[in-house]
């Protein structure tokens, strides 16, 4: 490849998956832009009460 690569990543979607992708990348040396359509991150998981199979609180 001839063009210069950029050391940053755009993550679209601030649900559990997007947040964790962002964290992994940021923790391994990349600058991350986390883009979320809504006013807050957390996605559907933050609206759940508890999660199976351990019944841990979803927050």
């Amino acid at each position: 490849m001839n063009f210069k690569k950029t050391g940053s990543v755009v993550v679209i979607g601030g649900g559990i998956s997007g947040m964790l992708s962002a964290l992994d990348l940021a923790n391994s040396g990349f600058y991350v832009y986390l883009v979320e359509k809504g006013p807050s991150i957390g996605g559907v998981m933050s609206q759940l009460d508890k999660t199976f199979p351990t019944n841990d609180c979803a927050m």
């Binding site: 990543v9 755009v10 998956s17 964790l20 992708s21 957390g42 009460d49 199979p53 019944n55 841990d56």
Partner: protein
């Protein structure tokens, strides 16, 4: 603002309803806001971002059941969706966690009609869940796929609803196939049935009608014997599926990535997070319907794929985080702040938290106590920082949930307030108290007080601790040369880390070498060969075949392993380890396996398909039996892959020879996600599915010309006998149960012998032991694409450690020696499993013991063994433990 734990916790203005923005009236908020934060002139901006890669994880929307006229979701107040029920169960939801009928009404209704309805509110006695609403349905909607998560969430909701109601609630789940193929899911399902008394009814409910006066709901369905049943329920929960929104599809189109007919991202089984466009990766539900742990694996896998592509520009764009200087509290009088968390209703539902908070204020050295609905929410954290600073608190006690998941978060809060993170004591009044003493709130409150008092006594003696820097050896050892291990190795080597693959057999590839095709039709052998080629060509990778692991020493960043190849041994130093030891097919012990060549396992059939065995064309009738050795008392888990495997092979046989009669004898067909389309295809091709019950298994009789299989047909409810030339058994997938390996790395195995990951939801590719990661079927049986995803995820998690070279630290809770008291006996040196203590070899204290901070795990063995009382465990010092014990004994 959507909910109290929202991040960022900031109010926003909805431009569609704001009077100022729509009609230029009002403007009250601008006048009252003391921070002058309201700015009506803000408009939408377009920002251009330069990025090397994109990760697309747009998620899903729960299916909207409004158009299902037979369930009357819109018109009947007591028909709700599972997502709404989830909010009803939540303490921060509209009913504060109380399950009541008419949940869709406002808490304090204003309209006359609503007020009348609200008077009829009651605690439901009977709740029904309807599965597959908006999934596996081409009749009322166009979603032929299975949403993968609804069976488990319905079981969970029913269990928790029963817990909330205290036993006096009848819960029924109406389903087609119960799909609980995830790790520990089958046990949860069986427990729901046997211990919690939840009814599981195999039927699709035809219609719902409402009693006009009580608004109770009458349902009609056909039971398994073909009888029409009518029953009345107080509430109906529709288990709605997952759907990709039109906006997501539009955005995907703009990004130029290919989708399946159902709007999910098209991916390859061997590159499961790569979209059709280079540089754009996908994760979460848009990459096929999946639950939380799988989304978490996708997330890390996508990060690893992006990391592979961008490894040479790592660390070029990152910025330094400003650290807050630590306040010196040594010598200060303890000034303890106690924070009590309600955990919504999790704690407060049982424990009188306000009372415990008041009580905490009366304890010695406590100058401040506060109660929070969710102490982990961002606003509570911010407030905590302010309170620490304002009240000059120098020790913090938190009574909440488990430190396993939440301690690091609160320690971070302490750091933000300028306190050393070890000036913190967390006591678990949820798992150890409110959850287990649900039936005795008074004693639970008393116990919470005891726990808080003990924590305060310990915190008063807490001292700031120092963490030592660890040098990370930036190389990797991958144990297991199957798909998951190879994937992890390839990714880490691509990112520039020296990687060693240890394989006990003489060749790479593992169990995948025995497979014919993936569910998506890719040729496994070809793809595995490609992967092995890439591994062998990569100069960062060293492959050790015919090699076993003999010994492992060390810790995260600095492992030392002894490898044995034939007679030769060699030592390998590595910073992290990935355990990808896989699983294998079991040897069936029933249905005549081993007595006749015509009775084979799924892998046996794959072998014949791979070899293009022409004898297969001579077969007129083929039968598959599912769950052979799975979902039974001695092996209670579901092997996850067999349903898809058999359905896939049935299709292959049927396409090969359409006149062949193909039968699949099953208990539940678990073709989750878009695998459901295979199930549909198989039925359309004429594959016949017959269900059997575990207590009425098919009986196999081997005769000379035919194999005869008798069972009860579930539709006719009559015995049938099938004659076949080929019987394929879906044998259970069993783990290698490698206890030696587990001991080397101090990682746990579950009852069945699968590795136990750090956290079922949020840590599925790593172990609780730092620096050790898990991937592949050794974690749980899984198909090709999922093994590869986990391989990538393990690589991503490992990369977060390896790339940190300079800022990895030990724990502060380690042993230290008071040399004055040390009698040079050497017991600590002989007892330590981590080789942390050693004798000082020169200087004033020659001969006395000393602890290597990097090696010490803080287990406390040496402390207990020291007869001179010279050893102390920082953070758990003897005086702290005693003060806790004495505090417990105090009569209040």
């Amino acid at each position: 603002m959507e909910y109290p734990q929202a991040v960022p916790l900031k109010y926003g203005i909805n431009p569609e309803v704001c009077l100022k923005l729509t009609k230029d009236k009002c403007g009250t908020c601008e006048e009252v806001c003391p921070a002058n934060a309201i700015d009506y002139t803000q408009t939408q901006e377009t920002i251009t971002l330069d990025a090397g890669a994109i990760i697309f994880s747009p998620g899903f929307k729960p299916f909207d059941p409004s158009k299902f006229d037979n369930y009357q979701y819109v018109n009947y107040p007591n028909v709700i969706t599972s997502m709404e029920f989830e909010r009803i169960l939540s303490a921060s939801g509209p009913t504060m966690g109380h399950v009541t009928t008419f949940p869709k009404l406002p808490a304090k209704p204003k309209k006359k009609k609503d007020k009348l309805l609200a008077k009829k509110r009651k605690s439901p006695k009977r709740i029904a869940w309807f599965q597959c609403v908006g999934s596996r349905d081409m009749n009322k909607c166009d979603n032929p796929y299975c949403s993968s998560v609804c069976c488990m969430y319905a079981v969970k909701e029913a269990v928790i609803a029963k817990e909330h109601a205290g036993g006096d609630l009848d819960c029924s789940i109406f389903f087609m196939d119960m799909r609980t193929p995830g790790k520990e899911f089958e046990k949860y399902y069986q427990n729901a049935k046997d211990k919690h008394g939840i009814n599981f009814i195999r039927s699709k409910v035809h219609s719902v009608t409402e009693d006009l006066d009580t608004h109770d709901l009458q349902i009609r369905y056909v039971d398994e014997l073909g009888q029409i049943v009518t029953e009345v329920y107080d509430m109906i929960v529709l288990s709605v599926g997952l759907e990709i929104t039109p906006e997501t599809k539009e955005l995907a189109d703009k990004l130029g990535i290919e989708m399946t007919a159902n709007g999910f991202c098209k991916t390859d089984s061997f590159e499961p997070v790569a979209t059709s466009r280079d540089g754009i990766y996908v994760s979460g539900v848009f990459n096929n319907p999946k639950d939380i742990p799988e989304s978490v694996l996708d997330a890390s896998a996508a990060a690893s794929a992006a990391g592979d592509a961008l490894s040479e520009v790592r660390d070029t764009m990152t910025k330094q985080v400003a650290t807050i200087p630590e306040t010196n509290v040594v010598g200060e009088r303890p000034n303890i702040g106690v924070f009590i968390c309600d955990c919504g209703s999790n704690i407060k539902g049982v424990v009188d938290c306000a009372h415990v908070t008041e009580y905490a204020k009366s304890l010695p050295y406590v100058t401040f106590a506060d109660e929070n609905m969710y102490a982990c929410s961002q606003d509570a954290q911010d407030k905590m920082v302010e309170q620490i600073k304002e009240k000059k608190l120098n020790r913090i006690v938190l009574a909440a949930c488990t430190p396993k998941t939440h301690e690091p978060l609160f320690q971070e809060t302490l750091k933000n307030a300028g306190l050393n993170k070890y000036l913190f004591e967390m006591t678990n009044i949820r798992n150890h108290n409110s959850w287990v003493h649900k039936n005795n709130p008074e004693l639970a409150t008393q116990k919470a007080k005891d726990l808080v008092r003990m924590a305060v006594a310990k915190a008063a003696l807490a001292e700031p601790l120092k963490e030592e820097k660890i040098d990370v050896n930036a190389s990797v050892m991958v144990v297991g040369g199957g798909l998951a291990g190879l994937t992890a190795a390839k990714s880490l080597a691509t990112q520039g880390y020296d990687t060693h693959i240890i394989e006990k057999k003489d060749q790479l590839g593992g169990e995948a070498l025995k497979l014919f095709k993936t569910a998506q039709g890719e040729d496994v052998g070809e793809k595995v060969a490609e992967l092995i080629g890439a591994i062998e060509a990569n100069e960062k990778i060293t492959v050790h075949t015919d090699t076993t692991l003999e010994k492992v020493e060390g810790f995260v960043g600095n492992f030392k392993s002894l490898l044995k190849t034939g007679d030769k041994t060699c030592e390998l130093e590595h910073g992290v380890a990935v355990l990808a030891t896989g699983a294998k097919s079991s040897e069936p012990t029933e249905y005549g396996f081993g007595q006749d060549d015509r009775i084979i396992t799924a892998l046996g059939l794959d072998k014949r398909l791979k070899e293009n065995d022409t004898q297969l064309d001579a077969i007129n009738s083929a039968v598959f039996i599912q769950c052979v050795g799975s979902r039974e008392t001695d092996r209670p888990y579901c092997s996850r892959v067999c349903c898809t495997h058999s359905v896939d092979n049935a299709i292959l046989l049927k396409t090969r020879k359409p006149s062949m009669d193909v039968f699949i004898l099953y208990r539940d067909i678990r073709t989750y996600g878009e695998r459901e389309l295979l199930y549909k295809e198989a039925r359309e091709l004429g594959v016949i599915f017959i269900r059997y019950e575990v207590d009425k298994k098919p009986v196999v009789v081997i005769e000379k010309d035919k194999i005869k299989i008798s069972l009860n047909d579930h539709v006719l409810n009559q015995p049938v006998t099938l004659e076949t030339d080929l019987l394929t058994l879906a044998a259970a997938i069993v783990p290698r149960k490698d206890e030696k390996l587990a001991n080397f790395f101090k990682v746990p195995l579950n009852d069945e012998g699968f590795f136990i990951e750090k956290h079922a939801k949020l840590g599925p590719a790593e172990f609780a032991t730092a620096g050790v990661f898990v991937a592949g079927a050794g974690h749980y049986p899984k198909p090709v694409n999922e093994a590869i995803t986990q391989g990538r995820a393990a690589a991503s998690r490992a990369a977060t450690l390896l790339s940190k070279k300079d800022n990895l630290f030990t724990s502060g809770t380690i042993a230290n020696v008071n040399v004055e008291k040390c009698s040079t006996c050497g017991v600590c040196i002989s007892i330590c499993p981590y080789s942390a203590p050693r004798f000082i070899t020169e200087g004033r204290f020659e001969g006395k013991a000393d602890i290597n901070a990097v090696l010490c795990k803080g287990c406390g063995l040496c402390v207990a063994s020291c007869r001179s009382g010279a050893l102390h465990l920082r953070g758990f010092d003897t005086n702290q433990i005693f003060s806790q014990i004495f505090a417990l004994g105090e009569v209040v």
